[in-house]
């Protein structure tokens, strides 16, 4: 009731004092400078031919960069890889994080806090370190993954995890899942602790089973945090450069090339800023579209 009153009072205040609306202007200016200006510059560059190695100034070429992109096989491979990498990682790590949080939810005893800490450790490891760790673990000759799998008889000869066009992307996804699962574990564990005891108690009184409680009580409470967590991780993985670059540099061939790696190659190896900007704009539109979809999901749920 008091929250309602406060909201009403602040709304009426805002209506009476228009000055408060202007208070947002400094923030908007800063946002325009640090976000808007680079985006607008990139959009303009995407319609120009601009190579840093060529002394001539940028030249307006209309939509040529975009039509080149449409015909560029590698762009489509990179886009497909990005979608597989992003959604594969988010789906699997969300599932494992959810499972771990539910299993460890009611764990008590001497070691429960230790186990929780161990589950969270991968989140504390810098992504570049994760990438190097897995790169060495996946090595075809002498890598621990092959050694273990051969010792237990699963493999008869070393697998070229990062040197096979079929295995490289899944291998990087596994490393990424290891690194991002703790995020979902933390999100779900926090949301679980926020479920009112009275609701769970009522379920117990009504003799609801484990699955029934999970499905009808816990999962509805977890939906919003999972949607928000997934959105954050989709954006983070869409932009993930370090792991792919350190582990494979987008190879072998283009089998693990993602959009961010392709943009990097175009901009900082070929110095073709015009084409790289065009890819960047498509990339931005895709991310905005995904974010809009997630937010719509949240709004539908709220209403």
């Amino acid at each position: 009731m008091s929250a309602k009153l406060n909201t009403r009072s602040s709304r009426s205040l805002r209506g009476k004092i228009p000055f408060l609306d202007w208070m947002v202007i400094p923030t908007l200016i800063v946002l325009f400078l640090i976000v808007g200006y680079p985006v607008v510059s990139t959009a303009i560059l995407s319609f120009q031919e601009y190579n840093l190695l060529k002394p001539n100034p940028p030249e307006w070429i209309g939509i040529d960069n975009y039509s080149d992109m449409y015909a560029d096989r590698v762009f489509w491979v990179a886009l497909t890889n990005t979608l597989i990498y992003t959604f594969g990682t988010v789906f699997v790590s969300a599932l494992i994080g959810l499972g771990l949080a539910l299993i460890l939810e009611n764990m008590t005893g001497r070691f429960s806090s230790w186990i929780n800490a161990i589950v969270v450790i991968p989140w504390a490891v810098p992504f570049v370190v994760v990438a190097f760790l897995f790169r060495f673990m996946y090595m075809q000759n002498g890598g621990i993954v092959n050694e273990v799998l051969m010792d237990v008889g699963i493999l008869s000869q070393p697998a070229p995890w990062l040197n096979s066009s079929d295995l490289a992307l899944p291998a990087i996804i596994v490393a990424n899942v290891w690194a991002t699962t703790p995020f979902f574990f933390l999100v779900v564990a926090a949301a679980l602790s926020g479920i009112p005891d009275a609701v769970l108690e009522s379920a117990r009184v009504d003799r609801a089973g484990i699955w029934s409680t999970l499905w009808h009580i816990k999962l509805p409470f977890l939906r919003t945090p999972l949607v928000i967590g997934s959105l954050l991780m989709v954006i983070a993985n869409f932009n993930d450069f370090a792991k792919v670059w350190v582990m494979t540099q987008g190879g072998p061939g283009y089998s693990s090339t993602t959009l961010v790696v392709y943009v990097y190659r175009m901009a900082f190896e070929n110095f073709d800023l015009g084409y790289a900007s065009a890819i960047g704009i498509i990339w931005l539109i895709l991310l905005l579209g995904t974010a809009a979809l997630y937010i719509r999901l949240l709004l539908v749920r709220s209403s």
Binding site: G251, P252, F268, E269, N270
Partner: protein, 422 residues
């Protein structure tokens, strides 16, 4: 009181005079920014610093501000610095990076500094490649061509003649099969199959050995029968387990030092890396390792590439005379050659002759003799320039697909060509 005021007045004038004169004294000191990776790498750091200290001692008015950059980051950083109007005075460069910087228009032509006398003191073939349209874009610092290294013990253990490495690719194929059968854990051939400009430089001589020339002047394209033959051969190397795909050339060096690589396609500086890794003395090293020219391919010839380092001066430098003095010192001073080029970097100085008998003695080794007499004459030009990096991405991605996937070779070649045409 009067005296003390006068003393203070004179004292003040003296201090003011000394302060006014001080800046002009300091202004004679020039600080040159020198971007290099020699001080970034542990094996060359100390030697490089020693040479810089010696230069500063010999030239009291010039200070060197060494700016460390990783080898793989050099072109990126220098191009971005150039475009933002903040290039160094002098930089260490190599391979395509030299030509990329020249294409960007930011390099100072060295033609006006490198007169006939100094060019006449260099070996033929050590500097001509750096003349573009009549202007000298870079000055050679050292020569480090690639050769075909072999481990004599591995060859002997496999029943092969350790003193006669394969001279043709057919002989190489046969030797690799023999070695693999005798010792399956050995990496039979160390080749750089990463996707970067250096990897194309390194693989270019192998393509030429097959008669393939996918880009550049007189290019036959990526779909030529010669290029298909090269890609088929690369695939056979992977399928037979002879190569370890995805490794950078530098990652093979510790392995050859540990006796885990039979053949390695690498530069002259490998000797230094091997000896610093396993502590071998020169006699043991020469008894264990040898270097020969690339085995001749179907084209009837073998080739090499120049992986040496050059020095460039930027057009925006405000201290061009001092920068040239530094370049000339690093490249041609006998002490600098002894301490850094030969002693630390284990490469070959571009100078044709040395007065110091000690330097000549250092250069008289079986490895350098083999390079000078047999390998350097096989160096082939590369299609360096602004488009080389883009071509490298397309070609090396195709090479990687050939060695790591089942995609038909003809389709891979078609994809390479479509990327080259983009």
């Amino acid at each position: 009181m009067k005296n003390s005021s006068r003393t203070m007045l004179f004292g003040g004038i003296a201090v003011a005079t000394s302060l006014l004169s001080a800046p002009s004294a300091f202004a004679q000191d020039i600080t040159l920014q020198f971007t290099n990776w020699a001080t970034a790498e542990q094996t060359t750091q100390a030697g490089m610093q020693e040479v810089i200290d010696a230069f500063e001692a010999a030239n009291p008015g010039i200070k060197i501000e060494s700016q460390t950059v990783a080898f793989s980051e050099t072109a990126r950083q220098l191009v971005l610095r150039l475009r933002s109007g903040n290039p160094p005075d002098v930089a260490q460069v190599a391979g395509n990076d030299t030509f990329v910087l020249a294409a960007s228009g930011g390099l100072q032509s060295l033609s006006q500094y490198a007169d006939d006398a100094i060019l006449g003191s260099l070996k033929t073939g050590s500097f001509e490649a750096f003349n573009l349209d009549g202007e000298m874009i870079a000055f050679p610092w050292n020569q480090a061509p690639a050769g075909f290294w072999y481990n004599k013990e591995i060859l002997a253990n496999a029943g092969l003649d350790p003193e006669n490495p394969p001279a043709t690719i057919d002989e190489l194929n046969s030797a690799m099969a023999t070695i693999k059968a005798a010792n399956p854990d050995i990496i039979t051939l160390g080749l750089d199959t990463t996707n970067r400009a250096f990897a194309l430089s390194s693989n270019w001589p192998w393509m030429l050995a097959f008669g393939a020339k996918p880009v550049g002047e007189d290019a036959t394209g990526a779909e030529s029968p010669e290029m298909l033959a090269y890609l088929e051969w690369m695939r056979s190397l992977a399928q037979n387990g002879y190569i370890d795909p995805g490794r950078k050339i530098g990652e093979f060096r510790p392995l050859i030092a540990q006796g885990q690589v039979a053949f390695l396609w690498d530069q002259v500086l490998v000797q230094g890396v091997i000896q610093s890794s396993n502590g071998m003395d020169n006699d043991t090293f020469n008894a264990t390792y040898g270097v020969a020219p690339m085995p001749a391919g179907p084209s009837g010839q073998g080739y090499s590439f120049e992986g040496g380092h050059q020095l460039v001066m930027f057009a925006d430098s405000e201290h061009k005379e001092a920068a040239w003095k530094f370049i000339k010192y690093l490249s041609t001073d006998e002490n600098a050659a002894k301490v850094y080029t030969i002693g630390t970097n284990r490469s070959i100085p571009p100078a044709a002759e040395f007065e110091d008998g000690e330097v000549a003695a250092l250069l008289s080794t079986p490895v350098i003799d083999s390079y000078s007499a047999k390998i350097i004459p096989t160096i082939a030009a590369q299609p360096y320039g602004a488009d080389f990096a883009e071509a490298a991405t397309a070609i090396m991605a195709g090479v990687q697909e050939a060695v790591t996937s089942d995609i038909p070779i003809a389709e891979i070649a078609k994809n390479i060509q479509s990327q080259l045409d983009r």
